[in-house]
């Protein structure tokens, strides 16, 4: 029990968030949305780590989450810059149009 709520609910929430993220990544074509979905998946994992950390009374998981957040933040900075460059080049951010590597 965490704060009076069963661990199962935390895990359920985390899973739901992860699946929403995954489906979003697969289904959407707008690069920014895909990007946001990836963040969603990362945070779903973060949530799970924190839950287990508290459950086991082990701070390691929480430390790990800090790292993930830091990495995610820098990743956002790089990712958004890439998106900006893509937009400048093809005036669009639809992933289906990014097929230059095919040939």
């Amino acid at each position: 029990m965490l704060n009076g709520i069963s661990i199962n609910y935390y895990l359920l929430l985390s899973t739901v968030l992860f699946i929403i993220g995954a489906v979003g990544v697969m289904a959407r074509r707008n690069s920014i949305i895909i990007f946001m979905c990836i963040e969603l998946m990362l945070n779903a994992v973060n949530l799970m780590l924190v839950s287990f950390s508290t459950l086991h009374n082990d701070p390691k998981g929480q430390v790990f989450v800090f790292f993930i957040m830091a990495v995610a933040a820098s990743e956002v900075a790089v990712g958004l810059a890439i998106l900006t460059m893509i937009y400048r080049n093809i005036k669009h951010i639809d992933t289906d149009l990014l097929t230059n590597l095919k040939n």
Binding site: A27, D96, T99, K102
Partner: protein, 628 residues
């Protein structure tokens, strides 16, 4: 000097390296000079060591250079052995080698491959010295293979000529057959005695059991058959005359082909134990001697005559080995090296004068034009024919006396051989130097004596051919047979003659009489009656045709060995290689291309599709893990 015996093979090796790496940039005189000096230096060291050995109480010096192979029970040091046998061979190789190097600077002077020639020649001398100096069978084997390689390189020296290349290849392949026997012999020695050092092996030789010793002796003899051109592997030697003439003199007359004799003498312990092996050696020897001598009767190429003569003389030496007359055979090796090198170099001088002509039918009447060559070759011919007091007489007579002791039939055949030898040698001499000139007008105009660098070695060798017999004067003359006594420490059962003096005198008289009659007969035929060899093969009598075509042995080998091999090879080429092997390789390639052309369609470039595939993949992996 004996401690420094390693220098003897080292000098030619240095000469080889210098000529091999920088020969092309050097002038001809420098390149030839380095080659000659390196062999001369070896000769000087060899002579000094030889003199030291005379006064040394210990007759067998082992000089260990370094540890070569060291693996568990297999310990093979790279060590040299200096004893009476190797000292004699050292003197022959470096001494005659030096003279032939000098001769070559004249003979090869206008050749483009001048420095290449001396590179090979020096390398040959190095390997040959290694062969006779090694203290175990493996060092001998290294030299053995090395001289084979150099022989191949030098026979095919003029590599733009396909026939010469074929001759080189033939020599190499024939030698390989023998080498396999030799190698198996070495392995059997190691397996039986646990060592391949001469000293250890010979000390334990008797413990091996007769059957094993016989196998070892016969396997080693197979190696000797290949290298020393005995039946059935002799056909490479006449073809080897494709090489430059100094090569024929050095490698295919004086030194390399006697390696087989050296090896049998070195291993005389095995042959003394095994009666069967000795008999085989004797029979193969006399068969080769007789067979080659008859072929020599009707050859028309001056070098081919000498080549068959070499084969025949080698056969005679093996006959001597077979009856246990080891020191007599070494004696004959020595005198043969003198007069056969002389004859080959003389033939080279004739060919030089004739502008490359080798056919005796197109020569004649040369004795006035090239006097020095004529006189030296005459001396060489007398020496090989066995006329006293020339060197060949003593050595041949010693062998025949031992053969007479052993077996009268073999002796008779040996006598026939030496009569044939006298006949074909004088036939060659008469056809070349007597009568009228039969070449073209242009050749007659071109005739000239060879330069000093070529005639001086001829004169030295002629001197040696005349007096060389002094090292082995017959004992029943009340003389001191130096070489027999000198070699006795390395021979298990020295074989002093047990014949009565009367018998020996009779045998000797018979031999001289026979040679005299044969020479008179040759004189009557080729000078008095002026009989010339038939040019038109159609007019030859059947037996002459058989001999002129060398008994069709080459054709026989062609039909029995080469042709079937060709057929098998072409089957393997056309079916196994082109169909099966290529088929497997090509269809692998085609399959990959085919699969690729289908799978390539998956690469759409659509990011969404890639992501879906990835997720599906992860899900599949997870499912898979759970199921298992």
């Amino acid at each position: 000097m004996i401690k420094l015996i390693g220098l003897v093979p080292l000098f030619p090796l240095i000469g080889f390296l210098i000529n091999g790496f920088f020969g092309k940039k050097m002038s001809k005189s420098l390149s030839g000079g380095i080659a000659c000096v390196s062999v001369l230096a070896s000769f000087v060291v060899a002579v000094l060591a030889f003199l030291e050995l005379q006064h040394s109480a210990n007759k067998s010096h082992v000089i260990e250079l370094f540890s070569w192979i060291n693996s568990d029970t297999l310990k093979i040091p790279f060590s040299l052995l200096f004893d009476p046998l190797s000292s004699i061979f050292l003197l022959i190789i470096t001494g005659i080698g030096f003279l032939i190097h000098i001769y070559s600077t004249g003979y090869m002077h206008d050749d483009d491959g001048f420095s290449r020639f001396f590179t090979y020649l020096n390398l040959f001398v190095f390997f040959m010295l290694l062969l006779v100096l090694g203290n175990n069978y493996l060092v001998m084997f290294v030299g053995w293979e090395g001289v084979g390689l150099c022989s191949y390189l030098l026979i095919g020296f003029w590599f733009k000529n396909t026939a010469f290349n074929n001759a080189a290849r033939k020599a190499f392949v024939m030698n390989r057959i023998g080498d396999l026997g030799f190698l198996m012999g070495i392995i059997l020695i190691f397996v039986t005695y646990g060592s391949i050092s001469y000293g250890e092996v010979f000390a334990k030789a008797g413990t091996g059991g007769t059957a094993v010793v016989t196998s070892i002796a016969l396997l080693l003899f197979i190696g000797a058959i290949g290298k020393s051109a005995q039946i059935p592997l002799y056909t490479w030697l006449p073809d080897a005359m494709a090489g430059p003439t100094p090569v024929s003199a050095l490698i295919h007359a004086a030194t390399m082909v006697t390696a087989g004799i050296y090896m049998v003498v070195r291993s005389n312990v095995f042959y003394s134990i095994s009666e069967v092996a000795s008999e085989t050696v004797a029979v193969v020897g006399i068969a080769t001697a007789l067979f080659a001598a008859t072929i020599g009767l009707l050859q028309n190429d001056i070098k081919k005559i000498l080549a068959y003569s070499t084969v025949s003389q080698l056969g005679l030496m093996f006959l001597g080995l077979g009856v246990g007359a080891y020191s007599s055979s070494v004696f004959h090796v020595t005198t043969h090296a003198f007069f056969k090198a002389l004859l080959f170099l003389g033939a080279g001088s004739v060919i030089h004068a004739m502008g490359g002509e080798q056919d005796v039918r197109k020569m004649g009447g040369l004795k006035g034009k090239i006097k020095i060559t004529y006189i030296t070759m005459l001396l060489g011919t007398i020496a090989i024919s066995g006329i006293p007091p020339f060197s060949g007489f003593f050595s041949k007579d010693e062998i025949l006396a031992h053969v007479y002791e052993h077996n009268k039939i073999l002796w008779f055949l040996g006598m026939v051989t030496s009569m044939l030898t006298a006949f074909y040698m004088f036939r060659m001499l008469f056809l070349t130097f007597f009568g009228n000139f039969r070449g073209t007008h242009e050749q007659e105009h071109h005739l000239h004596e060879s330069p000093k660098s070529m005639t001086v070695p001829l004169m030295v060798l002629a001197g040696l051919s005349v007096v060389g017999g002094l090292i082995g004067l017959p004992e029943f003359w009340g003389q001191h047979n130096w070489i027999g006594e000198y070699l006795s420490p390395i021979i298990l059962r020295p074989d002093p003659s047990i014949l009565s003096h009367e018998t020996e005198w009779t045998l000797m008289g018979l031999a001289v009489l026979a040679a005299g009659v044969v020479i008179y007969f040759a004189h009557a035929m080729f000078i008095t009656n002026d009989v010339l060899p038939e040019n038109n093969e159609e007019k030859l009598k059947p037996w002459q045709k058989l001999i002129a075509n060398k008994y069709y042995v080459d054709e026989l080998y062609n039909a029995v060995v080469t042709k079937p091999l060709d057929i098998i090879s072409s089957f393997f080429h056309k079916f196994m290689d082109l169909q099966v092997v290529d088929g497997i390789v090509n269809s692998t390639g085609k399959a990959v291309t085919g699969i690729g052309s289908v799978v390539r369609l998956l690469q759409t470039g659509n990011i969404g599709f890639y992501i879906v595939s990835m997720v599906l993949g992860v899900v599949l992996i997870l499912l898979f893990t759970f199921i298992i």
